[in-house]
Symmetry: C2
Amino acid sequence: MSRKPTLALVGATGAVGTVMRELVSTRDDIWGEIRLVASARSAGKLLQVRGEDVVVQALTPEVFDGVDIAIFDVPDEVSAEWVPIAASRGPIVIDKSGTFRMDPDVPLVVPEVNPRDAFNRPRNIISTPNCTTLSMMAGIGALHAEFTLKELVVASYQAVSGAGVAGPARLYDEIEALAGDRTVGSTVGDVRKALANKLSDDSPFPAPIAFNVIPWAGSYKEGGWASEELKLRNESRKILGIPDLKVSATCVRVPVVTTHSLAVHARFEREITVADAHRILEAAPTVVLVDDPQNGVWPTPIDVVGTDPTYIGRIRQAVDFPNTLDLFVCGDNLRKGAALNAAEIAELVASEL
Amino acid sequence: MSRKPTLALVGATGAVGTVMRELVSTRDDIWGEIRLVASARSAGKLLQVRGEDVVVQALTPEVFDGVDIAIFDVPDEVSAEWVPIAASRGPIVIDKSGTFRMDPDVPLVVPEVNPRDAFNRPRNIISTPNCTTLSMMAGIGALHAEFTLKELVVASYQAVSGAGVAGPARLYDEIEALAGDRTVGSTVGDVRKALANKLSDDSPFPAPIAFNVIPWAGSYKEGGWASEELKLRNESRKILGIPDLKVSATCVRVPVVTTHSLAVHARFEREITVADAHRILEAAPTVVLVDDPQNGVWPTPIDVVGTDPTYIGRIRQAVDFPNTLDLFVCGDNLRKGAALNAAEIAELVASEL
């Protein structure tokens, strides 16, 4: 392509959209025009991209005319309606929603793991995974490439910003309402009672999140599963290209602002040692090994938030399970977990326009 | 025994000791004299038991003379020295520390699971498990009794009070230092920086715990394991009487004041359904089933803290793993996880004095 490609960011005003504008402003500037698109309510607003004010445009079919690549970060139902419209007007659409991830004609891409899938897109749509799945994919994908993954048992420690901008706002509200009470959290229901006196019930979470953990993320699915847990299973299978991968996950929300963590128990086809894992992960692009527990070195959310890589530590060879590692992963759910992966797909696709 | 037995509480001033005094004051009053014992520093202090002031006595060999049952909740090294001394002066000693748990001549008892073991005690000592192990034992033990447990993969969400009274104090300090800053936790290292300006480095935790999770609990063990993770493995095997039980655990500290939670992936010898688990856990003493996710019903720490039972919810039949359940458990680490289990063992033993 002789001219620089035109990029549209749809959902530019949201939590991920904000990180996306920051990313396209700080990464290699491969883009010509960058259009910011949002709901009619936000149209006309000025937002900064690459140090310049850009007027937000309303979501219409015409806004995609002349666009080469469009990144959508909007609710599932908005994607369901608008992604096909956008794709029919010309641009390759990279969609962050859950709508098209399991569509057999839509590739689900993590550039470190399955970049070639981005070039087989019958519907002109590429999907990017759920943030919880993404948190571990670069690292698990690198281990799988050499040792062949068979099983994953995962427990998550998910940040509140995974629920959108309302998530951190609610956590800060609850923390402010409870701070200074040096007994709160020590008798049954005291957190609920203290919050009821000070805050509205209007929370993006189904229970108080300050001083608490909530074993629920997403919507109800058959068998008692939360949608987030099944996404982690189904998306891992599709990205890694292992249709019979065994996966069980329990997803839990924790009072962390941004950065998802996962405790992962991973069985491979053959024996894998901690030294093997260190060698592979040290060489894996976008993965940072943080694993020296004897010296107190392992990743935590506050030490990695706002940065791009996936951080992996606490790698142990399971004592009782053959060919199995236990490990702990942290990744910023708004960057690699969302905006960054979409930006990387866009750059990958733009390189072949 | 014609007279009521004499009980000694050693470590009466600590976090668990405080709950222990509350428990013996509110449960069936089977005790004659109750002696409170602590370090020489606390001797002479007045503490309430059963509504009366009792003078704390210093830890000496003589303080155990005439005592029938002594409950120790002191650091490992104090137990190592003093538990054998106490046991040699007559009382049956129930020890909460890690010192004697794996001693083949010391039973490790959870009254709901292996009560008979309490009556086979060659050293006159009974040990009570680590709080993380205890959080799940009553429920897992009930399922094992009917379906025979083979494997456990566990990830923990451990409360700060598991680190003693300094744990909640530090969490409250950090929360107070950070409350009001509505961006904290969103850029790398900002929590550490904000705390460094306001608090001393003197924390019971190896990293900030407010707005964070820490994948470390206990001391370093070979292979990169944390002591807490190996305790969960070894103690589960001993309590359940399954010497070849396969266990992998990842222990993570979370900013919750009190009540440990566990995500448990449990494989049994034969097929077990959610309905089977519901039937068994509804009938299990000291277990409360809280499992109706379609209506937002599952346990969370703030909804169960300060109460005695183990709460279990999110029970799912694993989609890809045969004979396997995934579930979520919450239990107050200072009650069933510590003081309550010791009190129950004391009552069990006292019944046969």
